[in-house]
Subunit: 194 residues, 2 copies
DNA sequence: GAGAAACGATAACATATGTTATCAAGTTCA
DNA sequence: TGAACTTGATAACATATGTTATCGTTTCTC
């Protein structure tokens, strides 16, 4: 959440660096659960190597909500901030190197940050962007066909298509894995490459 | 955005009351545009009477993103905070009584608020909730069928179904208006009422 | 009050998508 | 190495959904 924005708000660096030593480094194999649906988030998660998805269970099959990669950080934001059970699970996709910063330190870090005069403005700018991201996800799914959404992934976030197993992508796009396979084969026919 | 939370953060009331006089009261007929897609948001909007939707244009037909009713407030949050063109239009559905608070006053209000010791925590809690709301919209649409989504509307937000024209609801659910009509007639047959 | 526009239902047809089942290739792990 | 699991493709069929067109009713507008 916060540390995505280090570049835009260089002031964060000083604070962030101070808390680096409190992180726990974890080498996690694929399919390691970092936070389980229903539990309360206790860590801020930073990905040094590998990738991670968030998903929730729906009658046995799970639905992927989002993907994260190297140098991205995440938490189950609502669960972390409001101390409520997480509505989704966070799980590694590939074998990954993860840094976990315990909640107490994040809270202390935020407490320090709040003395920065423009902290509130910073928080607002960050959260407005995040909010826009999720609104766009919603907008895309009511506006675009699954085929268009897949092509958007291909053109704008190709690393997802390259590194993430297809059935995770299917549930993220909102279609069955069979249909995603159909979409791929249809696109392959339309655009033969030599 | 903010003033949704007056009840949970009573401190807001003092500040809010102070800025009440700066609002402009507007009586707007149905289909009045309060903010146009592409323009930069200049007001916080509060609905005293009536209802409002946000939507964006997509090849001629528009897609509704959200509905707002009495005693709710809104802005094009990202546009308002980050001074970027709004990605959607805000328009009245019914004849409505609207209060507009110009941006300059909202900024001043936030500036005052930022001296409250727990302002940052308040902002975080609020935005985490909002974020959860939009994630849930996304989750619902990749998890549920349009029929299930319509039934959720019926059971959890019946006022929407009662007051909003059907084709707006259809685009919000992500289906054509013809199909929403089919869903309704199917449900009516399943559940005859005497 | 009359014409125009908005709203909603329905039909008929085409297309998109889900479901289930099967097969093949790769990967993991004991 | 071999069995189990994972991943992905494809076929066949059923269902869901989009598109276009028509009709009747209501609502708006002048």
């Amino acid at each position: 959440m916060f540390f995505h924005f280090k570049d835009r708000f260089p002031k964060l660096n000083t604070y962030w660096d101070k808390y680096l030593p409190f992180q726990k480094r974890v080498e996690a194999p694929a399919k390691t659960v970092l936070l389980e649906e229903g539990k309360i988030s206790q860590h801020y998660i930073f990905i040094e190597k590998g990738c991670v998805r968030t998903f929730f269970n729906n009658n046995g099959d799970d639905k992927t909500v989002q993907f994260f990669f190297e140098n991205e950080g995440l938490s189950s934001f609502d669960s972390f901030i409001n101390n409520v059970p997480s509505t989704f699970t966070i799980e590694t996709i590939e074998p990954s190197v993860i840094y976990l910063l315990p909640k107490q330190h994040v809270l202390r870090l935020m407490d320090e940050l709040s003395h920065e005069p423009d902290f509130a403005q910073m928080i607002l700018q960050m959260t407005a962007r995040r909010q826009m991201h999720y609104i766009n996800e919603f907008v895309s799914i009511i506006r675009d066909t699954p085929e268009q959404r897949y092509q958007l992934l291909l053109s704008e976030r190709p690393h997802i298509v390259q590194r993430v197993p297809q059935h995770y992508i299917a549930s993220y796009l909102g279609v069955s894995k069979v249909h995603l396979s159909r979409i791929k084969s249809k696109l392959a026919k339309g655009k033969p490459h030599f």
